[in-house]
Symmetry: C2
């Protein structure tokens, strides 16, 4: 084999009139009047190779045998194409290679789908033939973009003195958080490792060891039901720092994301990122991860409608609920009654009992509930800044339901009405999170972030008495309506950590049994610390303009947590189970 001179996609003026060697895959072969043209593809792109029987009969004969996806090596002279033959759609379209020599390195059967971005192929077929699917230029570029992203991240963190330290994948199952993936131990029958949901405790211990600045691009595992942007295993840019304030940690994170935007997309972003409290986000956007690329905020009109004689509003307010409105500017004509019924059903998925609405016309508010407003109409119009042509929607329910339902409607209408500038990358810090959420399922408070999150100093005394009022030194970073990551300052005081476990419903014995090693470490000089974890898959997905993280993962699982290519998970031999001292109680056919 000769050495490759240059990638196909990188043939430029620099190679003109030189003899070069290319290696790649046959994208397309055409015979035009006895001359063969092969579009040759490698990871960097495509270039045209010409086989003229008058220049090399031998090469022409080999080229004549080539078919799509054959692997070939070609040596030839780089020539400028005639002006009329220039292909402006190809990066290399001004040049072609006049072949002198060709070797077929491997042949190929006709693939199950053509290697082109435009192909519409089912997800299952793509995953089953992933090696071929990844040949498609968009997929190749997505993974190259992912590489550029991690390269950029590492460069930034290495320069700031962060140490890349690996933590175990065979860890311990703990009762907090999502469901663990378990790994039976052969050496210790009846005992199990757990794959980590995050390296949280280990990175805190590394701070206790004095490493000061840690990072790891770490795989994490959660055995949860899957959604579009969830996978059984995902990758986290995990960071932890000692002796820094929340603001300093955020500043370092902003610098990291700004560098990634610059390195990967060539975009410069404005620093610092805007900040919004969790309460403001919920009040104004009905979401803890608001997409701030468009406005259309939730407007609290509880005060305005408190005297309106509409039973739904009255009952809601009497029961301590809220009434809020959305104003979809100029959208009145775009939504029929039937559309509004559908929107109502959509709101129902988020717990709303319905979606009241009005259209603003020349002569006032029109719609099913218009009659109730009477003299309050002007106040409604003022509060919602309504103008002719606007569509007003109302939610009346508990604060949580109104936020969720109107937040979802807002997001949906933002897309449907084309309010979103897709070229924008709106980063946002959401700060001042509640420490706890009430879990109906478990009948106890659970951590909004995790049990190691530092509560705000002024709220510490509420831990024992009014957990619902405790706010945390926690912050999420949001990009275009997606939660990109979350972080916090951590507890570095043993007594406070013990109180936290108590509030979470642990007995002191249970806390010691599950987290004793951390509690003990807190006794021996734990530094003030904090950190953040960013979802790498989601970040690259947004950079690549994709809407599913599968598009930026080389070998993802499908919606049933399986890999159609390798057929994992699979049954295993009885000997394997015997060695692990386990039986299966049920086998899926």
């Amino acid at each position: 084999m000769a050495k490759r001179t240059v990638y196909c996609g990188q043939v430029t003026e620099a190679q003109l009139d030189q003899v070069i060697t290319l290696k790649g895959w046959v994208q397309k072969r055409r015979d035009l009047g006895g001359v063969i043209f092969i579009d040759l593809r490698d990871r960097e792109g495509i270039v045209q190779v010409v086989f003229n029987p008058e220049k090399s009969r031998e090469a022409w004969e080999v080229a004549d045998k080539c078919r799509s996806e054959y692997v070939i090596e070609v040596t030839g002279l780089v020539e400028r194409r005639a002006p009329e033959a220039v292909n402006p759609k190809m990066v290399t379209g001004a040049f072609e290679i006049m072949a002198k020599d060709i070797t077929i390195l491997n042949r190929a059967k006709t693939p199950p789908f053509a290697i082109e971005d435009e192909q519409v192929i089912s997800d299952e077929i793509r995953l089953k033939n992933r090696a071929l699917d990844l040949r498609r230029p968009k997929m190749t570029q997505n993974l190259i973009m992912r590489h550029k992203t991690t390269h950029s991240i590492r460069e930034y963190l290495d320069n700031l003195g962060f140490l890349d330290i690996e933590t175990p994948y065979l860890g311990k199952s703990t009762p907090e958080g999502a469901r663990d993936y378990l790994v039976p131990s052969r050496v210790h029958p009846g005992h199990f490792y757990a794959l980590p949901q995050s390296p949280q405790i280990f990175k805190e211990l590394l701070m206790a060891s004095g490493f000061d600045r840690y990072y790891q691009i770490a795989r994490c595992f959660r055995d949860e039901d899957l959604r579009g942007d969830r996978q059984p295993e995902f990758t986290q840019v995990d960071m932890e720092m000692s002796f820094l304030s929340m603001e300093e940690i955020q500043e370092i994170t902003e610098g990291l994301l700004a560098k990634v935007m610059e390195d990967v997309l060539g975009l410069s972003v404005t620093l610092p990122f805007p900040r919004m409290t969790y309460d403001d986000a919920m009040n104004q956007y009905g979401s803890d991860k608001p997409d701030t690329r468009f406005d259309m905020k939730l407007i609290d009109i509880s005060d305005v409608v408190k005297d309106v004689d509409f039973k739904v509003f009255q009952m809601t307010l009497d029961q301590g609920g809220v009434v809020k409105a959305l104003n979809a500017k100029g959208a009145a004509s775009k939504y029929s009654r039937k559309d509004m019924d559908n929107l109502g059903k959509y709101a129902g998925q988020f717990g709303a009992k319905g979606l009241a609405w009005l259209k603003v016309e020349e002569d006032g508010l029109k719609g099913p509930i218009a009659k109730f407003f009477g003299e309050k109409e002007a106040e409604i119009i003022a509060a919602t800044k309504a103008e002719v042509g606007d569509l007003l929607m109302f939610g009346a329910d508990s604060y949580g339901v109104v936020s969720a339902a109107l937040g979802a409607i807002r997001t949906r209408l933002g897309k449907e009405l084309g309010l979103i500038d897709e070229s924008k990358f709106n980063f946002l810090w959401v700060t001042d999170w509640p420490q706890f959420e009430w879990s109906e399922e478990e009948g106890r408070y659970v951590s909004a972030h995790h049990p190691f999150t530092m509560p705000k100093a002024e709220d510490v005394e509420l831990l024992a008495t009014a957990p619902e009022k405790v706010y945390a030194e926690a912050y999420d970073i949001v990009l275009n309506g997606y939660e990109l990551g979350g972080g916090s300052l951590r507890i570095h005081d043993r007594a406070l950590q013990e109180q936290m476990f108590r509030t979470l419903g642990f007995s002191d014995e249970a806390a010691q049994e599950q987290f004793g090693f951390l509690l003990d470490a807190l006794d021996y000089g734990f530094p003030p610390l904090g950190g953040i974890a960013l979802g790498l898959d989601r970040l690259v997905m947004l950079l690549a303009g994709e809407d599913n993280i599968r598009e930026v993962i080389a070998f993802p699982k499908n919606g049933k947590a399986a890999d159609p290519m390798t057929e994992a998970p699979s049954t295993v031999s009885p000997l394997q189970l015997f060695e692990l001292s386990i039986n299966v109680t049920e086998v899926e056919e």
Copy 2:
């Protein structure tokens, strides 16, 4: 909190006469005539801080309360120590900080062991208190060295156009190789994922996708019994390349290791590395990973002794075995009869029935078997280049047993006799490996490397008829007697891969069932490819001068694959097992 100005260990001339802020741990507090001296430690080292009550009574009072491992923040003026007070053992020993201000950030109980390198602590106590153990300067520096190593590796590979691509950790169990760690699937009852023993197949598929140059610093998992340099999970620098020759792949690997040596240790190594065939390594060193830092090769004396009237030799040769000698130069006086008996027992661990030996004295060979040699004495002396004072040892058995036993004796004597220059880093390529090993246990040939290794072209026809004679396009990289990594060219032809599976005892159906997705991918334009995987833990261990990989892993498992700190693996709840559709058949107490 004030911002840190500089790490303790990095206070130099540059900070002289400046007011700086340090954060760290109290290594030691001494009170000398009313003045308090604190040695303050952070990850970069130690500096002395002085609290003089006449300069700041307030700071002195706080310092007086400090104890070992308290976490403090100190602000003070950097001064030059008086000449007689300079501590040449400390990097910062020419300076001290005259404290103006001190804050106790956290207190500490007296730790179970002092944070000093010199402490002798049991492995179990170290692992149980790993956060404290990692505070010891040597351990901190080991992990910093590991970071520098991976940084250097990534920089090198990124510059060469390698793409860092992640492959799944939830994979499929395959019958080849070591024992898999399994992960029960909740969604698919009775089905299991397997944690990868290496990303081998995925990286080959990435080559089929056209990524051309791949790398990943990947965690790998093997559920095998543990030895000093083995862990249930370990880290591999995994590389794969398309369209390159074995020599090109080796050249890239050599460049990588040379850069690491330069970046991490400041040492320049000579390129290219020496090469030795597997057969030569076994013949001369009795090892497939010879330590070439010292000589003392195995000498085949079968021809010399074929007429010697010593039954052991005669029977061995009659049965097709070999007789080999080792000459330990000048060692005769260092080994008593009892020592030789012990060496004989040691040889027995490698299958030898004994270890015959002779000492070379002024008047000829002396020892238990000297009488047999008679007139052949001169030939033995010539063949082994023996001189007065030398110790000759003999192995007579099958080629395998002689190699193993004398190879082990050679390694042991190399250490005992101080023949090894510990400052040397001897890299060596061991090439031309046998394709297969015969497995007594399984009663079939198994792959010496793995089933995807390309056999030498001239040996392909022997696959079906004489597998034991097939050599592979495989190469190991060896450093100072340790296998640092192994690689090969891979099969990129479907028919050849199918033949390989047949030779390994797979039916065509079994091969298709287990590896169908790879066989199918071979149909669609697989490029010529090859790669290598380097053991990162072992590499860093050797760079750090340690003799156990636990010393360069932040949170390793102990000899029973458990973590004494977190107590993983642990029992789990019945609900967890129920959800996974498994029962345990036995529980270790």
